[in-house]
Structures are given as structure tokens and as C-alpha cells.
Subunit: 254 residues, 2 copies
């Protein structure tokens, strides 16, 4: 029988619900059976500890190599205390925040994304999932965007957080370092994304949910594209993640 | 000076946070300055009452005709009690749930959507917003889907709830009544949505977030389409609203 975790340890684990503590410790939390299984099966991100209910342990203890040495048993009330969700699952994992390297060859030849102050964690996670689906390797994140290790971002990414290289970069610094990468922005008067021809190496900017793309980026030299709305359409705009999905789909299928 | 609302009235208004009460009263709640302005400016849905802070009232009282007769003044604490959101805005409006009619001519000639047990309110609202953007007039909703008058759906729809005809229909009943409308489902092995030719009158089914499209619909005679993923992509699927957005964009631009 495994020993239950100590009060101090519980306090530490519950503290990881805060960005401050996650950053200090350089870790993030993955919740739920599906994502924890993915964390244990993938190679790119280190799993430091798995915390779960006895039922999960009995069912999964032989499935993963070395799980014996980093599993911590908790009861339902304690799991609820550690979890960031109203309805915690049976298990969660503490993972090391990956320190992704930038691949300049891919950057020069392929699509990358830039999250320009995306503040909704669901949108940020959904955009990582889109990048993962379309094989986009780099997602750059502005300083004003939501923390990508926020539990809601991790959840909405559906495992993309283990695969897509997420890099914190200020736009100005990026532009200065990589002037050869074309910047693509979307706006109402841009060229129809279904017809435009874009260069191979490009950075697609996804603007803030209410303010859109920041003036500094729009003022820089960018290629402007648009998703045509129907003549009878009434919406002012599309959700940021939906727009990102449509533009990525078009780029990949042009 | 306007009189503040009574305790009983406050209790009634706070009760509208529950689906049960919204259904019984046949109303829904629209929150925030932007959406309330839209509610007051549009014609399709009746605004029964506007409830707001004094600051909002002073700034907006002359902007809207007849607002005098249906404005109710509340303080911040009361607005917080009525609001479904952690951070209520300055104002909200109680609107009559529209009883949309189905237009068979449009149905036969254009794209309609079917939400097959979409349970996430953010997804449902985002899909209504997509329909609105692409001028899609009808969105049918399965009995197992989230209530479309849920405040989070209304919020995510960004006003589409005032324009798109939302109709509760069981799939079987729809199929029986409109056998001439082609049913389109998306799945991994379907035809590439960027290349397929689809009939004009079609019903695009958006499946449940975790279970996908229900067996009864897949077993029926449907045209299967897919959004190609990149060879290097790792994600198992796309978010339901993102997939809906990509397919609608392709249908409108083919």
C-alpha cells in the first residue's frame, strides 16, 4: 500500500494553481486520464510526478515504466484541492515546463504563429491544437498573452502543449532578428485567403480577442489577408481561434 | 431620479440565471454594454427590460427610443447578484426568446448547421457566430445540446443569437421531414473539403466535443468530408467550432 502525501506536499501541489508558483518551480500541471496518459507516453516533456486516486493507480500501475517511483496517492478531497477544475478527474501530472529551441530552418521555410495578446486561455489552447493538427512547429507568444502553462490552456490544447514549440517573444525583437520572415495579418480589407499566394516562410499574427492586432504590428510591413464573409452575414468578426483555423487550413491546402 | 428595483424583482431577475426559469418565462439575458446596445438596435428579438447602473443610464438614456419605460436601476451589488458572470458589466437586458420560423426555400438551397449534442456553451456560441459571419440562416440544435439561451452561449455568439434562426430539432424528425436536404458529416476518412463538390442545399452536422457525431447520424446516408491534417501533425482532432468554421469557409468559397 502506498503512503498518502503529506500536508506540506499537498500545500505545495495546490500552490501550483498559481502562475507565480508554476513559474518559480518551472513546472505545469496536466489533468485528467487522457492527458496524463499522453504525458506519460510522450518523450519531449519530463513528467516529474503523477498524483492520483487509488482506483487509477490499480488500473494503470503496470502500464507505464517507472511509474512506481514517481506516483503519489491522494484521496478525492485532496485531489479536488490540487485540481484547477470544478470536477477533477482521477489523476493529474506535474510536468517540467519545456524550454523549446527555435529551429531557424523551419522558421524560414514554414508557417509559424504569433499570438498577439491572446488573453482567453480556451482560445490560446485551441490555437495550439490547430498548430498541432496542421503540423505548424512554432507558436510565438507575446508578453501580453495568457500564460501557456495555465491549466485551461493546457486542457484546451489537447496535448499540443507536448509537441508544439511555444516561445515567448516580443514582436519587435522577432522582427529585428528575423526580417526575412513575412508577417501575415488578417483584416477585413485584406486579400481573400482562398486566392492569395503567400511566401513559404511566414509568421501569421493572431490578434487580441477584442482589440484585434496591435498597431505596432499593423504598421510594420505585413501582408494582409481576409476571410470573406457572406453578403448576408451579420457578425463583425470571427472568434480568434476560428479565424486562425481557417487561415491555417487555407495555407496548408493552397 | 429612477426608483431602484424591489427585492422581489431582484429575486426574479437573479432566478433567470437558471435554465428552468428562463424556459418558464420564455426569456433570456443579454449582458454587457456592447450586446445590450445590439439588442436595443436590432428588430428581430423583443427587449423586455434593461437593467443597469446609474452611470450607464445617464450616458445612454437619450440614445434609445422608449428606454424610459423599460429601464430598471440597480446598484453594483445587485447587478452582481443578477449577472451570470464573475465580472458583470454595467448593464444587462432581458429579451424574449425568439420563436424562429423555418424557411423551407432557404433550407433547400443553402447550407444549414446541425449541432449534434454540442455541450460546451463557448463552442455553441462560437458556432452561431460562424453561421452569422457566413450568412448561414438556420442552425438546428439536438435535444442533447446545451441550451442556446445559456448566458455563455449568448455571450460567445456576439450578437448572432439576434440574427441566426436557432431551431430545436431531433435529427430523425428532420431527416423524415426534409429527405431532400443532403446531410454532410466530417470524419478523418471523408473527402478533402478543399476539393469536394457539395450540393447547394445541405445540413452540416457538428458532432459532440468528445464523442463526435452520433452513430444514428453516421449510419444515415451522409456525405463525408474531412479537413486534411499535415503529415507531421500530432493532434487527434480539431475543436468542434474550429472544424465548423473551416468547413463553412470552404463551402462558401468553393
Amino acid at each position: 500500500m502506498l503512503a498518502k502525501v503529506s500536508k506540506n506536499r499537498l500545500k505545495y501541489l495546490a500552490g501550483l494553481k498559481l502562475k507565480k508558483h508554476r513559474s518559480e518551480e518551472g513546472v505545469f500541471v496536466v489533468e485528467g486520464e487522457k492527458l496524463v496518459a499522453e504525458a506519460l507516453n510522450q518523450q519531449a516533456v519530463e513528467v516529474i510526478s503523477v498524483i492520483g486516486l487509488e482506483g487509477w493507480w490499480i488500473e494503470n500501475r503496470l502500464k507505464y515504466k517507472g511509474l512506481d517511483s514517481n506516483f503519489e496517492l491522494v484521496g478525492e478531497a485532496d485531489l479536488r484541492r490540487i485540481s484547477s477544475f470544478a470536477e477533477p478527474n482521477q489523476v493529474l501530472a506535474i510536468c517540467r515546463q519545456p524550454d523549446w529551441a527555435l529551429d531557424e530552418t523551419i522558421l524560414a521555410q514554414d508557417v509559424s504563429l504569433y499570438l498577439d495578446d491572446i488573453t482567453d486561455p480556451g482560445n490560446a489552447g485551441t490555437i495550439l491544437r490547430i498548430a498541432d493538427w496542421f503540423g505548424i512547429r512554432h507558436v510565438f507568444v507575446s508578453p501580453g498573452s495568457v500564460e501557456v502553462f495555465n491549466p485551461k490552456v493546457v486542457q484546451a490544447s489537447m496535448g499540443a502543449i507536448f509537441r508544439v514549440r511555444v516561445l515567448a517573444w516580443d514582436f519587435g525583437a522577432f522582427r529585428e532578428k528575423f526580417p526575412q520572415v513575412a508577417v501575415v495579418t488578417s483584416e477585413l480589407k485584406g486579400e481573400n485567403i482562398f486566392k492569395v499566394h503567400l511566401p513559404k516562410g511566414l509568421l501569421l499574427v493572431i490578434g487580441n480577442e477584442s482589440k484585434g492586432i496591435s498597431a505596432a504590428i499593423l504598421d510594420s510591413d505585413s501582408l494582409r489577408v481576409s476571410i470573406p464573409s457572406a453578403p448576408g452575414g451579420g457578425a463583425e468578426s470571427l472568434n480568434a481561434a476560428v479565424a486562425a483555423g481557417i487561415i491555417c487550413a487555407c495555407i496548408r491546402n493552397n
